[in-house]
């Protein structure tokens, strides 16, 4: 296991009149080399959980283990953890603090005092891994980039630290369908090609169901459901009550249950839904070949 979270509690704004319990006895495990999606409505404690994983917030109770070691106990050094696990935030502009793309991506390597040649190589590899040609983008100003490109630069900046894992906080929020598809494909590629462990949060199962190996559903600071995307989708009704956006396929399947109560709702693709429907539909009456509309 890369991370194990054991019965973690965290109170935000502790000691002020605004104190809120963000995590209330949260336990989960994140296996190496897989994509884990943490899904829950807003305020479920997803972002707090990510920060706790990185050791940036110290649990008020409970422990976080990284490769079996408690991150807040000596001899473990939390600051090393942050060089081994990267995070990409929801709004990429909050994460870019240098003027040019090259400078920003090389920020981590420079901090680690790597020799210039090695740092250059890392920057080049990282930029190309996210699909931004090095020569073309190295000197570009961050401010001249589009939102999608900024997001990529932010990912490259994290990749340049050669992490074992990357945490993504709401990676698809605010993107259009095309940008969303591209980003999800990129995340998938990072897992396959670089063997990275990926953790991502989302308030919607729509984007992550087809991508994740494991889905963890968080509600009011606790894990309420976890497992493969299919096994989680099988509880679609409960998820809806938790204010979690379901994939369109699942929504359609749920809606059709009023016709066929035993219709499954753990399908991930349109083809699967079609197959499932065929179990219930009477045989097609018309044998004529279907003409296209155009």
């Amino acid at each position: 296991m890369l991370f194990e979270v054991k019965d973690v509690y965290y109170t935000r704004m502790r000691g002020t009149p605004f104190a809120v319990e963000a995590l209330k006895g949260c336990s989960l495990a994140i296996p190496e080399g897989e994509i884990t999606a943490i899904v829950g409505p807003t305020q479920a404690g997803k972002s707090t959980l990510l920060l706790t994983l990185l050791g940036l917030l110290r649990p008020t109770r409970g422990s976080v283990l990284f490769h079996g070691q408690d991150i807040h106990q000596a001899p473990f050094n939390v600051e090393d953890l942050r060089l081994r696990v990267g995070i990409v935030f929801q709004s990429p502009e909050a994460q870019l603090f240098e003027e040019t793309v090259g400078k920003d991506v090389s920020f981590g390597p420079r901090r680690k005092r790597l020799p210039p040649a090695q740092s250059r190589r890392l920057v080049q590899e990282s930029l190309e891994a996210v699909g931004l040609p090095y020569e073309e983008f190295r000197t570009r100003y961050i401010s001249s980039l589009s939102g999608g490109q900024k997001r990529r630069v932010a990912i490259a900046g994290v990749l340049a630290l050669e992490p074992e894992a990357i945490l993504f906080d709401e990676p698809t929020a605010g993107l259009d369908p095309q940008g969303r598809q591209e980003l999800l494909a990129l995340i998938q590629r990072l897992k396959m090609e670089r063997r990275l462990t990926i953790v991502l949060t989302s308030s919607s199962l729509a984007d992550v169901a087809a991508l994740a190996d494991q889905v963890i559903v968080l509600h009011e600071g606790r894990v309420v459901l976890s497992g493969s995307p299919r096994s989680v989708l099988a509880h679609a009704k409960e998820l809806l009550a938790l204010d979690i956006t379901l994939p369109e396929i699942t929504q359609i399947a749920l809606g059709l249950r009023s016709l066929w109560p035993s219709l499954r709702c753990d399908m991930l693709t349109l083809a699967e839904l079609e197959e499932e429907l065929l179990r219930f539909l009477p045989h097609a009456t018309s044998q004529e070949p279907q003409l296209s509309s155009s």
Partner: protein, 279 residues
């Protein structure tokens, strides 16, 4: 009625030849009480069009005429138009001015110099319309993203606009909250005769609107009822837009031999009714 006549718009800084203009010769008409979904992917010119309609940007060629007033006429008519056309931005944090919910709603009417009793009346009215009453005295910064977006709509509605333009209001909020917001907006259109122009890039959101306009590279690509627009699958795909899944499912089943299914299914209810008839 809003008339957009052959409007071209370029952002300054874009070289004349290098980059295509944000809008290139757009012509369309929006009637009172219509609900329209404006769809297109990023960079298709949707937001630019919204800003031109609300007289925040002025056309460089052609004209935008709102209830008989040209947006580029200058003087008082500019403010008249901005009162008539309400614009809700994508990110509510960019739009919310005041510190509490009530003050935010009152901001617009205060700018119009209305007497106190009338401001109060309008605040009360939109608090109920958008279910914000339980939050009336809360600080804006404590609201959730969905509540902020409702508040942004409330602030604009308090101006009593005749046209309401929503610039991708659903991108920053979770699915069900988004559906509720759209349901509210359509109800307003029905009950108050406000025209609604909802800008989105989600195909599944367009099915409940009277009319759909598809934009691509600064031009109007398609314009018609949802069912008519969805018939043009190839054009939509070329503009980077896929059909809604329900429509796709219907077409797949038709291809499998259930040819009595309608060619374009829009809503879940349509699908259910169609499947029922097969049963």
């Amino acid at each position: 009625m809003i008339e957009v006549n052959n409007v071209t718009f370029r952002y300054s800084g874009e070289a004349e030849e290098d980059i295509a203009p944000a809008l290139a010769g757009v012509t369309l008409r929006i009637d009172e009480g219509e609900t329209i979904a404006l769809i297109g992917h990023n960079g298709s010119g949707k937001s630019t069009l919204a800003r031109l309609l609300a007289a925040i940007l002025l056309p460089q060629q052609g004209s935008v005429i709102v209830d008989g007033l040209r947006t580029d006429a200058g003087g008082e008519s500019l403010w008249q138009i901005r009162q008539t056309v309400g614009l809700v931005f994508q990110n509510p944090d960019d739009q919310l001015v005041a510190n509490t919910v009530i003050d935010e709603i009152a901001f617009g009417p205060e700018n119009l110099g209305l007497p106190r009793f009338e401001i109060e009346e309008r605040v009360e009215e939109v608090l109920d319309l958008l279910d914000l009453r339980p939050h009336a005295h809360r600080a804006v910064s404590d609201l959730s993203q969905g509540q902020k977006q409702r508040l942004a709509v409330a602030g604009v509605l308090a101006m009593r606009p005749r046209y309401l333009i929503l610039d991708e209001p659903t991108t920053m909020i979770p699915g069900r909250t988004a559906e509720q917001l759209l349901e509210t907006v359509r109800r307003l259109a029905r009950e108050r005769g406000i025209s609604v122009l909802h800008i989105t890039h989600h195909m599944h959101e367009l099915v409940d609107f009277d009319r759909v306009i598809v934009m691509d590279r600064g031009r109007v690509l398609l314009d018609g009822t949802p069912a008519n627009v969805l018939r043009h699958r190839e054009e939509l795909e070329r503009a980077g837009l896929g059909l809604p899944l329900i429509t796709q499912l219907g077409q797949r089943l038709r291809a499998r031999g259930w040819s009595q299914l309608p060619e374009v299914l829009l809503t879940l209810d349509d699908l259910k009714a169609a499947l029922c008839s097969l049963k």
